[in-house]
């Protein structure tokens, strides 16, 4: 049959988490179709049609999908499920919110956050904060899967899929959107940035956290944080990297004033190069860091900022 990927988007632009999920889907069951459900999201469907390897894009454009709430999305996916052996979504908060509902209604288990497709029914996924990797074989029948996007390469461009409009399913109306407070940032997205610079409790305040900003700007980096920094209110929740926040795997991850708790490591230890800046030379973060700089971050960060400027990074 085929697999269906739920597109990650904000009605205006398609996120590259979708491209990465397409790569995983193609390894499980081809052809790959992409579902774009949203409101006034025609441009997103056009973008999805260009992903290499996608045969068809299903466009469900209706007010009830504007925020991709789990309840209407469940109904929509159940109406489509018959035609697919596998339904996949990136393991974003949207995908995690929706897919278990679909799995439960289809009476199949869900496979969460796969890291690797070993064969169309066998997968690797992290457990215990990534301290163990489980190899899991699914029974025959439909596969419902969320994908750890940092573990898959993005499918390229160059496809020319057809876009098929599909009707909206009925909505129970027992859940509705009632507002949002989104973080605004000109910086690259945390989960797809090539460089991430994260701060921890060591930064000490929201004001001090801004020390990371001009460095991030010079390196075109995204800014992340430990849970402690989020809990203390230095930065919003969507900055959190870790087991229960976002998983990132950039080329360069810089941990500043972060001790390196297992829950934090779970979200960043697959980065290519890790730098740790910490005044405690015994901090566990140094055990995973390629380059460790022991010292006071309040001295090191301004130095780093200046050194970057003098080397021509703006």
């Amino acid at each position: 049959m085929a697999s269906l990927v739920i597109a990650e988007h904000d009605n205006a632009s398609l996120k590259d988490a979708t491209h990465k999920t397409v790569t995983a889907a193609a390894q499980i069951s081809a052809p790959v179709h992409v579902l774009v459900a949203g409101e006034n999201c025609g441009a997103v469907a056009e973008a999805a049609a260009k992903i290499a390897g996608v045969e068809k894009v299903l466009l469900a454009d209706a007010a009830s999908y504007a925020r991709q709430l789990a309840e209407p999305m469940e109904a929509l996916l159940l109406s489509l499920a018959d035609k697919y052996d596998a339904i996949l979504a990136p393991a974003t908060t949207t995908g995690k919110n929706i897919l278990p509902r679909v799995a439960a209604k289809l009476d199949v288990g869900q496979i969460s956050e796969i890291l690797k497709v070993i064969s169309p029914d066998t997968f690797e996924r992290p457990i215990y904060a990534g301290n163990a990797i489980e190899t899991l074989q699914a029974p025959s029948g439909k596969k419902i899967i969320t994908v750890r996007t940092t573990a898959f390469k993005a499918a390229g461009e160059g496809g020319s899929a057809t876009v098929e409009k599909i009707a909206a399913s009925s909505d129970s109306g027992n859940s509705k959107f009632a507002g949002e407070a989104l973080s605004k940032s000109e910086r690259p997205d945390l989960t797809s940035a090539k460089i991430v610079i994260s701060g921890g409790r060591g930064l000490g305040s929201a004001e001090n956290f801004k020390l990371l900003d001009s460095i991030a700007d010079k390196l075109h980096a995204a800014v992340g944080a430990s849970r402690a920094a989020v809990d203390a209110g230095y930065v919003p929740n969507d900055y959190q990297v870790g087991q229960t926040g976002k998983a990132v795997a950039p080329d360069l991850y810089m941990a500043v004033g972060i001790s390196g708790a297992i829950q934090h490591l779970a979200g960043m230890k697959d980065s290519k190069v890790i730098v740790a800046i910490n005044k405690d030379e015994d901090a566990p973060i140094f055990q995973v860091a390629d380059y460790g700089l022991v010292g006071d971050l309040f001295k090191i960060l301004p130095e780093l900022d200046e050194a970057l400027a003098s080397r021509g990074y703006k």
């Binding site: 949207t94 990797i133 809990d231 929740n237």
Partner: protein
């Protein structure tokens, strides 16, 4: 309104787990077990609802071995009223957990269920959503704050882009995120009192749920190990190295 809180007994979050050499699982012998941290947050929220007069009773459920009754006791010491232990020594997959919880909901008729967003052992992040779907209820996952009104709940959720608020009709399922509240420590008198609170025991079969696993765990292996690198002397050396690696 009755509030139901499912709690899971998991390896303590401070324990660094070790994979068994034969790859059959992780070493759980003599390891400290605790309540899943997200479930402590769920219990706290339910108890606060009771303290505010918005909940009439807080019922705690756990599915697991006999020792899971200790986890229930912890929740009762935090302020839960009574417990239900669905006893099994088998591993229970999220879908089966959700089916068991559905059977409990059918019997108990709570108006609100609060689960953790994920259990920190299996990291599945499924049970709350599956339960909501099986019940045909709406959900508010990854809750950051809750405003409960008559017949509805406003739940602000921690999402990838920031915060989102949904309004759901009751009954509903909510799953907790880290910032919802800070769970209390049970006081000694409350720990003593909790010893007298009732815990009812059932089996999955009593509830008519087949918990035979659907998935086959082929192996549990070590993740690729990262080895610590070098300490650099200062910013110039750091930048030279990063440049040489081609990452800046």
């Amino acid at each position: 309104m009755k509030v139901l809180v499912p709690v899971k007994r998991v390896i303590d979050y401070n324990v660094k787990v070790r994979v068994k050499a034969d790859q059959s699982g992780v070493d759980l012998a003599n390891v400290k077990m605790s309540m899943n941290p997200f479930d402590e947050i769920a219990v706290e929220e339910a108890v606060r609802l009771k303290e505010k007069g918005k909940a009439s009773e807080v019922v705690i459920v756990s599915i697991g071995p006999q020792q899971a009754s200790e986890t229930i006791r912890t929740a009762l010491a935090m302020g839960g009223d009574r417990g239900i232990l669905v006893k099994t020594d088998q591993m229970v997959e999220p879908l089966a957990v959700a089916k068991i919880l559905k059977a409990i909901v059918d019997a108990e008729q709570p108006g609100f269920v609060i689960t953790g967003k994920q259990a920190i052992d299996d990291d599945a992040n499924q049970v709350g959503q599956m339960l909501a779907a099986l019940l045909g209820w709406p959900q508010g996952t990854f809750a950051h704050s809750l405003e409960l009104a008559d017949g509805s709940a406003k739940i602000t959720r921690e999402i990838d882009g920031g915060l989102q608020t949904v309004e759901v009709k009751l009954p509903a399922v909510m799953t907790t995120d880290l910032r919802l509240n800070e769970p209390r420590y049970a006081s000694l008198p409350n720990i003593m009192k909790a010893k007298k609170k009732p815990i009812e025991e059932k089996s999955p079969a009593d509830l008519g749920v087949d918990i035979t696993p659907r998935f086959k765990v082929l192996k549990i292996s070590e993740p690729p190990k990262r080895v610590g690198g070098v300490k650099v002397s200062g910013v110039p050396e750091l930048l030279d190295k990063l440049k040489a690696d081609g990452v800046i």
